[in-house]
Amino acid sequence: MSDSPILQVRDVTLQYKTKDYLVTATYRVNFDTYSSDRFVLLGPSGCGKSSLLKAIGGFIFPVEGSILLKGTQITQPGPDRVMVFQEFDQLLPWKTVKENIVFALESSGKLGKNEAQEKALYYIEKVNLTKFANNYPHTLSGGMKQRVAIARGMAMEPEIILMDEPFAALDALTRRNMQDELLRLWDETRFTIMFVTHSISEALRIGNRILLLSPHPGRVKAEINSDGTDPIDPINGKRVSENIHEMLFNKDETNPELING
């Protein structure tokens, strides 16, 4: 891990307008992400975690505070911060698996035609989809589509990959496999991941560092480390996941959505 953070989020307040209200999504959020981090933003609906990710992506802008990528203020979307979305329609349906990746590499001006083809095939192989390189997205399953989206993001070799609940629309079994696969890919290339989820177990599995956000508006509740297991806290004898759950909610207020997944 390098000494200086790759991404610095400083006192970031995000707001958006609905028809009748000006909603504050996050209030003065602070955190740092280092190179090769698997940084998870965890919180219930309404904690502004997706808004934070979009702000890092350069799609929305803070009304207060600043977001610095390698010391430079983020002013617009760019191929150095690739987003992977929850929706399966993030792949261009008129392009094959390979063309989707080539498109990304070429449009961003990162690579020429031949190099882009080579790199696309390399990353398609990494996610074990070589057989499907010439398939159109509508012929793939949901999990395969997400793997293509991840391969596309990795092929860009960005500073950071921003994942907005990429596995939330998958069935439980596939979701579990995808989590393992993501960790395997990370093990091979050590890219920096920012991962948004509302599942505590997913956060503990995926992340090495977890930012807990409380809702309405999103504020930092805690920032903890994770080794992928869900160890028992020696202080109060409870599992970390239970402690997280209590931190995010009142004890009596159960939210099954957060424990499952």
Binding site: P93, F103, S107, T139
Partner: protein, 288 residues
Amino acid sequence: MDDKSTHRPEFFNDSLSSVFGVTEVPLTLWEKIYSLEFIRKTFILIFLAAIWEIYARYLDNPLLFPTFSSTVAAFGDAILYGGLLEKVLYSLKILLIGYLAGLVIATILTVAAITTQIGNDFLETLTSMFNPLPAIALLPLALIWFGLGYGSIIFVLIHAVLWPVALNTHSGFLSVSPTLRMVGKNYGLSNFGYVAKILIPAGFPSILSGLKIGWAFAWRTLIAAELVFGVSSGSGGLGWFIYENKNLLEIPNVFAGLFTVILIGLAVENIIFKTIEKKTIRKWGMQN
């Protein structure tokens, strides 16, 4: 609950083999034939032609309603000796000019509408004003402005094509999902690249149906305009052919003219637009 689970024995089927035998059975010949759209549509056409023939024979009044067979005969004669083919080509040429000009203007308007708020308001206002206005209602005005000839017809054709195509293209652009838009922006696309590489292909189902509607409107308008022109101009296309034969009471020829319009419509829809559909939105899984 406990009672139920303790009193019901569990069951394991150890003899279940992984080989099930036949799980795929080939379709019968009839099912295969029926699955071909081409065959089904041909059957419908034959059916309609048969009804036409039977009714016309029953009516037995060639002046009002000639039979299918005499219409086909008149059609053949008109192509061989009546110069129908030239008239069709003449009509198609004007049609294509008007259609393409309409598409170009529609493209410019929609791109302006998608990139700026004022362009958007402009297009919405114009389409709501002019889309309901029948193209043919502009013909008298066009005659005063452009005189007899190409100019007037092309003017009304553009009017006929422009609004439905612009409307559909615009709604196609608007229907592109926010995710795809963000993907486009994420990979550094902007302005022209964004429209060409994201909006047009993603909105293609709507755009294609706009192209179809535009084509149909253009055809209608052209034939109608030629019918009106026929009175004064004397030379002309398919509409003029129909008008002239009506005056001569050559009713089978009138039917042959209408028949030609139908044939061209069927050909364009089933050959050109179908092919485009197959190679684009169907292949991409955007339409089933």
